[in-house]
Amino acid sequence: MSRRVGLEASLAAAEAARMADVDVIAAYPITPQTHIPERLAEMVADGELNAAYIPVESEHSALSACLGAAAVGARTFTATAGQGLELMHEVVYVASSMRYPIVMTVCNRALSAPLSVWGDHSDVMAVRDTGWIQIFCQNSQEAFDLTLWAFRVGEDSRVLLPVMVHFDGFHLSHVTEPVVLPEQEEVDGFLPRFRYPFALNPDKPMTHGAFGPPDIYSEAKIAQEVAFRKSKDVIIQGFKEFGDIFGRYYHLVESYRAEGAKTLLLTMGSFSETAKIAIDLKKSKGESVGLISLRLWRPFPFEELRQAVGNAETLIVFDRCISFGGPGGPVSSEIKSALYSEKNRPEVVSFIGGLGGRDMAVEDFEYVIERGREIVEKGSKELFETVGIRGKVTGIRG
């Protein structure tokens, strides 16, 4: 019988790794991720989890150790945040191109400078093109569910790719809230043992990581791109299987009261829940507005986004990151390009806020919706506008 408990998103992710019977954990502590390696180390120290816990000396080594563990066929897990994700940046590319299904929780955190241990999505955007499957959680239940799902999808022989499970630093990582924990049998029914077909072993010697001369590098990368995009089928299948067993069904793009809405707000991560309250308030005043939030960030859900957008006239995208000197909000630019060739595509308006741990209250989202509509009605030359930042910003031209 599953049981309902109060659990922090970080501890829920650690619990999922435990129920997945992970073999190797290599992690370096970094705020706000520390409760994950701490809980896993405690489980190993008390015999609750039979795994090798490698207390590496930096994040660069954390992921590097994970490469080795995955290469010999061990189920491998790590977690990091902000600067840690940056420090392991070059290793992130290697993990995906060597097709090691490592699962990594990222407690999303702002990037230096200035130093900020608080939450935003700038670390996510820095690893956008690294070829990892990337998925967003909105609450602690999802932090548990999507970690299990990540092992299932990443380790599938048709995929064999690493997965990042993103959840907001502090706003989720440090929040205790209800989580339904399943029985071990249910988890074992969903998640088969990891069988890695190319495990390094003297019985069957193989070479991993040979270098790529010019006459073959391109083919290697295109093969990776094709496999990465094809993984979407298994991603969808994984959601279905998960829902059939655990009763919670996830979608690449989540819609909330968006049916036929003239105006749509788009968010990612835990702030989507606060945004839902703003949507309810607007709906109660008879306004035609709804919410869509990207659950799957990579590979980008182009088709599902277009379906979710439908024939909305206005699409307001809320970004928690700045793309300096570029398209303003990185998510808004992806949305614009995804809808570029649509005949009746909506006007896309870009807002940036929630940087470095700044809260977004319900009123802030109501403002974003109202101002977003006003921008479309009256027109504006600004590339993006800000919310919750002291001092008006103007003259930012796209």
Binding site: W118, H174, E177, I277
Partner: protein
């Protein structure tokens, strides 16, 4: 949102304010309610003032922000009253629960609080039950005396689970504070 109670806990680094909020949240959830607890986000330093937040409701809680207008404020250390405005944003029908040797009446006159005040000498209770001036479990008892957000016994289960062998003293601290808390409307 109907039935939503928002509580702000004021303590000091190392005094366990975050733990009290979490224990009550877990108790509420185990009673089938919805709850959410989290610390004021940032590095905690032993001795420095810290804040923890707790929401309890009959419906799922979707707000992902700090609590600016609490229904109840719980103050784990009387020294904070001169240092931090513990009543900032406190709702008109709010309540204040303070660890203090003084009576609610004295506290109300000294600080001019217009809200009902509950007080209990949690420091003394903590010293006599767990041998340390850690007042977080005692102040849970004080909170439950003011509003029965969860049953005492449910919190006892959480204390057993969290403190194991050291649970006895903490349970005693909570129950004594529950008995000795006095309220002045």
């Amino acid at each position: 949102m109907a039935g939503l109670l928002e509580i702000r806990w004021h303590g000091r680094g190392g005094l366990g304010a975050v733990t009290s909020a979490e224990l009550v949240a877990r108790a509420a959830i185990s009673e089938g309610k919805y709850a959410q607890s989290f610390p004021s986000f940032g590095p905690e330093r032993r001795g420095a003032p810290v804040i923890a937040f707790l929401r309890i409701s009959d419906e799922s809680i979707r707000t992902r922000t700090a609590i600016d207008e609490p229904d109840i404020v719980v103050v784990l250390d009387p020294g904070l009253l001169r240092v931090v405005d513990v009543t900032s944003g406190l709702k008109d029908n709010g309540k204040i629960i303070i660890n203090s040797r003084k009576s609610p009446a004295e506290l109300k006159s000294e600080f001019g609080y217009k809200w009902p005040v509950a007080a209990v000498d949690a420091t003394r209770i903590a010293r006599e039950t767990i041998g340390m001036p850690i007042t977080n479990t005692a102040m849970i008892g004080a909170l439950l005396k003011v509003t029965e957000v969860v049953k005492l016994d449910t919190v006892v289960e959480q204390l057993d689970e969290r403190f194991g062998a050291r649970a006895k003293g903490n349970i005693e601290a909570m129950k004594r504070a529950y008995r000795e808390t006095v309220i002045k409307e």
